[in-house]
Amino acid sequence: MKRFMAFVRKEFLHIFRDFRTLIILFGLPAAQILIFGYAVRTDLKNAGIAVLDNARDDVSKELTLKLEASEFFNIDRQLASYDEIDATFKKGKIKAVIIFPERMASTLAREGNATVSIIADGSEPNTASLVTGYVSGIMNDYSATLTKGITSTVPLINPEVRMYFNPNLESHYMFVPGVITLILILISALMTSVTIVREKEFGTMEVLLVSPLKPWQIIVGKVTPYFFLSLVNVTVILLMSWLVFGLPVKGSVALLIAECMLYILLGLSFGILVSASATKMENAIFISAFALLLPSLLLSGFIFPIENMPKIYDYFSMILPPRWFVETIRAIMIKGAGFSYVWKETAILAGMTLVLMIISSRKFKTRLGEGKE
């Protein structure tokens, strides 16, 4: 244990002494959260919307005025009929169409509520969700003035939100799970593989192997700091997304952290496997980047929704860990799902981790054990 601790201490020294490593470890997650976060939050200013006013009464006119008066929207045009909606969206300037029902004022007076449809351009999910949110907000405000301060559980005007092109708005809020996935892979797989290969390349691995440290101690010692730093990173990312962007974790934080630990283990095993095969740091970076980084960016559903992919990519993504991990933490973070909901994904990830661990420890043994001159 003493030997092991001396070794782990050295690993921490390596990390804290290398400016570039520190940047990757701590600067990158922060930068990514901010970049992706602000990309999501693009402030809504003068977004073009169109109105299809089938009512043409006081209520619809007043609402239209309120929308126009807000700094968020610009009423670009009034539509005459439903037929114009498709063409309007295709031109792309209009982010949403607000449809007031016929005889809105009288329905409201008679039945006590009315439904307004908001159709947003789902091809820009982030903007779409902002637009619908703001429009709904303005309508709720208006409802409140109608009820004259009497708080009612049933809003008078129901905004009925629909998405054009991407009905479920799947990629909304995806950036935090995506960033976590990306960062964890980067640190656990890429950085550990590089740090192990570095020992080989510099010839220090030889000296370590001749020392009383056992091979597993060397490997575990090398990855231990990255395990903890990855956890620190997850915490930082979650805190940032909560404090800066107000995205809370809906489900259990403990479960989320546990899933992250599992994924870190998977990444570390993969990193060890890479380092067993690579003799040069560049190779290690190349393999990690191509085998994990790109798929986690492109095929995990982080940037492109898996549902929109050709079937073959969908099947292919099933063998990639990031896909399952993104699904798991998205479910926990955004849908508030419990373990009973994500056990399948967890089992798949655990299985993958186990397989990777077995392969990498075998491979490492043969690489380090016997060798010819």
Partner: protein, 247 residues
């Protein structure tokens, strides 16, 4: 007087598939001796050294290092030896003191033991002013001396030096050998491979390997007399060249 054997090798054979890297090696190394291990590239030196260091198992034969059987308990051997490779073995991004602490720690010493020894060592090498400098900032000669000092920091019974002076200037090599003598005088056995034939003459005894076999083993002066050559270099050229070229 019977001297104490720290390494005993009898009929050591190591095969990789059908290739025999070490063919019935037999030799002993005595305590406090400087034992030179020579041979052309591919002669089987490295293979034999890996076995002696507990990194690889012999196919057959008896190998005792510091009294421990290399086929059965190689891990125990590792605790009793020191090792320095031709490639640079200190961490460039750690300071001199941190490197010493690391290797002390790896060899099971605690900080209470390490610190006074470390300071004494720095003093002895007149390295005290470099103590908190990163290795990267030191000139190569100093690094190599330090690497050797680190390899024997935990007082091993035997230190294995794998071409320790490759790429080092003659002055540093000279100083390096003074350190080797000093170490041997403390009772630490020095097992050294080298490509420099003049260095071989500094050894108490040398063995020359060729084609996986030991072809000569004695003190340099005795070997020179036996083969009638003027220098070890000449001797080496005479006997270490593979007799049978590629069949």
């Amino acid at each position: 007087m019977e001297r104490e054997k720290v390494i005993e090798v009898k009929d050591l054979v190591k095969r990789f598939g059908s290739f025999t890297a070490n063919d019935r090696l037999t030799f002993d190394v005595y305590r406090g001796e400087i034992f030179g291990f020579l041979g052309a590239n591919g002669a089987g030196k490295t293979t034999a050294m890996r076995i002696l260091c507990g990194l690889s198992r012999p196919t057959s034969g008896k190998v005792l290092v510091a009294g421990i059987d290399a086929s059965r308990r190689p891990e125990e051997i590792k605790k009793r030896i020191g090792y320095m490779s031709q490639r640079f073995s200190l961490y460039e991004d750690l300071t001199v003191r941190e490197n010493i602490e690391l290797y002390g720690g790896i060899y099971g010493m605690n900080m209470k033991e390490i610190v006074p020894r470390r300071e004494a060592l720095l003093e002895r090498l007149s390295f005290t002013s470099y103590g908190d400098m990163l290795i990267r900032a030191l000139p190569l000669g100093l690094r190599q001396k330090l690497a050797f000092a680190v390899a024997v920091f935990h007082d091993p019974e035997i230190v294995f030096l794998d071409e320790p002076t490759s790429g080092v200037d003659p002055v540093t090599r000279r100083q390096f050998w003074e350190m080797i003598y000093e170490t041997a005088s403390r009772g630490i056995t020095v097992f050294v491979t080298t490509h420099y034939m003049d260095e071989a003459e500094y050894c108490d005894r040398i063995t020359i390997m060729s084609d996986g076999r030991i072809v000569a083993l004695d003190s340099p002066s005795a070997l020179l007399r036996q083969y009638g050559t003027a220098s070890v270099e000449e001797l080496f050229v005479k006997i270490a060249r593979p007799q049978k070229n590629i069949v």
